[in-house]
Point group: none
Amino acid sequence: MARIKISDIRRREIVETAFNVFAEKGYHNTSMADIAAELEVGHGTLYRYFNNKLDIASSVTDLVIERVSQVVIEELPGELQTLDDYRGQLKRIGNRFFELQEESPRLLRILFYESSNIDPSITAKIEAAYNLFASFTEAYLKLGILRGFLKPDIHTLEAAQAINGMLFATSWALSQRREITEESRQAWQDTIITLILDGLAL
Amino acid sequence: MARIKISDIRRREIVETAFNVFAEKGYHNTSMADIAAELEVGHGTLYRYFNNKLDIASSVTDLVIERVSQVVIEELPGELQTLDDYRGQLKRIGNRFFELQEESPRLLRILFYESSNIDPSITAKIEAAYNLFASFTEAYLKLGILRGFLKPDIHTLEAAQAINGMLFATSWALSQRREITEESRQAWQDTIITLILDGLAL
Amino acid sequence: MARIKISDIRRREIVETAFNVFAEKGYHNTSMADIAAELEVGHGTLYRYFNNKLDIASSVTDLVIERVSQVVIEELPGELQTLDDYRGQLKRIGNRFFELQEESPRLLRILFYESSNIDPSITAKIEAAYNLFASFTEAYLKLGILRGFLKPDIHTLEAAQAINGMLFATSWALSQRREITEESRQAWQDTIITLILDGLAL
Amino acid sequence: MARIKISDIRRREIVETAFNVFAEKGYHNTSMADIAAELEVGHGTLYRYFNNKLDIASSVTDLVIERVSQVVIEELPGELQTLDDYRGQLKRIGNRFFELQEESPRLLRILFYESSNIDPSITAKIEAAYNLFASFTEAYLKLGILRGFLKPDIHTLEAAQAINGMLFATSWALSQRREITEESRQAWQDTIITLILDGLAL
DNA sequence: CATGAATGAGATTTCATTCAT
DNA sequence: CATGAATGAAATCTCATTCAT
């Protein structure tokens, strides 16, 4: 039976705090002292749990990728009989994205912006995550084609990346807002689903 | 009559070089000495033309925004009689984007990734640019509605931002490739226009 | 009746271990954690027996000096009737030196090299030890003069220090070797005794 | 025609100063700030001339080895007709050693004591120097045998190392004194030459 | 104007020491 | 007694910026 060690809790606390501070000020503008101060802890303490600053950033990246992945993973492509079922699932995935965004608004922001140029090892992680997300989205599209909901001749990978781009742009746009109203949320959702399925043309 | 001053040429050289070095190594991993070395100039010289490193970064950001803006500005919404004209214009804009991407592949990358978290003043510029691009795209959409090409009830701002998100995602995806074939370029263009106008649904 | 306290045993264990680790890595490259790890003991425990790291180093120095002193002390200048007796005793002292060297090869090394520049208090101890060893050697020389074995007009202190220098150089040279053969041992012994008593001149 | 660059002078100044401070306090107890303060220079300046602290220590070691080597090198084994010539040369070498000692009393001290355990690269340099000195001394002994001044069956390498040990011990002993009188200098010289050539036995 | 030597603020990191458990 | 989590002083090193030449 796995016991949760106290040092694991500490590690998690540090990563969560570092996530917040990085999101606020960016990796390079954040000093170890900043993180320690936020935790109200001596800065030497951080080194009891992580080798160095990069090690923390790496864990922060893992955390972010894990969280974002949850959204996509939990809604697995299941039994979908009609295009409306498919549309419904798209809506659910969109909803989860918005929830995530409300819960921790800087999640995607830190993933795609703040984490650039920290270190090649982190860049590699992010590109891998990006490709992972694309392959998830692509799987949905392929299923849609298989079920006969979507046009059979689309470029699934390119479409998947473009769709993800929309989602991230949304996330970016929303992370700038102070508050997200139900109205704007609905507007976003409608817009994205319309673009994906129906297009804007009359 | 405005004369081009020698010092303006110098400034431009520095900004161009800084752009390249920032794109290569990222702002925080680039030292003033790196830029000076690339220019084969004493690093003290940079301070004759710019107040400090941030000042240079600011000018680089301006340059990048200006260049990207050119793409959108030059293709002004003109006389479009049919949906096919509209579709054709979308294609032209897309083409210009690809050309820009081929010409200086790191342009958008530096704009949205490397420039994050240098300084609030730069972040503000980028958000402004992002909104500017959105308003350009939105203008196209409104024109499309006006002409009766597009659905009249779409959320134009959200759609504009989502569309731009697709373009930036494309740019990001392409900037990872070593080489862009005519085939993949066509695939991207088809995909984006399909998503914008027709959607993926059968 | 003096009882041996458990805490004294502990202290001794720590000093022995510290000696080994210092000899291996040098004082400054050895952390308290290193010593504690070697002892399989919490590093806080060391502070139950010693005030601080310097305190340990001081005790290590005492230990080393004590051990080296044993070699000289045990062979007290006794009844020596002839120059050959004297020569024999020199040989015995030499042998004990080699044995010590084989037993703990880094003993002299730690004394004269690693212990330098830890702290003035330790430097003082080492200088005192050095002078003590010189006075021991000088006593032998004086006895040799008294017995009529040695030239009466030699500078006994200088000669004593020079002789000790030979011994330490030997120790240093041997501590570099992986293995000491019986042959090289004999070569060293012959050489030193020749230098002391007969000189190299024909 | 080789010009002496100003930066070479600076480097030399730093090495000389570092030599003094290391000799005074030892490598590990000397901070970059200490060296800079002694030079009345910002500590950042040191990094314009050396990569890091080890780089400085390495140069200091080179300097010391070079200086000590001069003593041995300049008195090359030349034309020696009689044992008295040989004895005279030994005396001259001894004299040079004393002069070196008076000139910079901490030279040998820093070489054999302070430089231990800084870094394997430095240890290697010192061992190489030690062996170099031994081979020089051995060459003298071999010449002495060849000329028929010395016993033909001595172990030249061991004898060379033992003799050098005497010299270093002398140096060490003298570096402890505040002042070296002509008398004590003569005593040392007599003692060493006696030990080398004639031995102490009657 | 151009230069690059000098500077020191500020960052990361180590580790001896303390002390609550 | 033993422990090891926490601490922060102190060290090394980087680099944007200044300024005398």
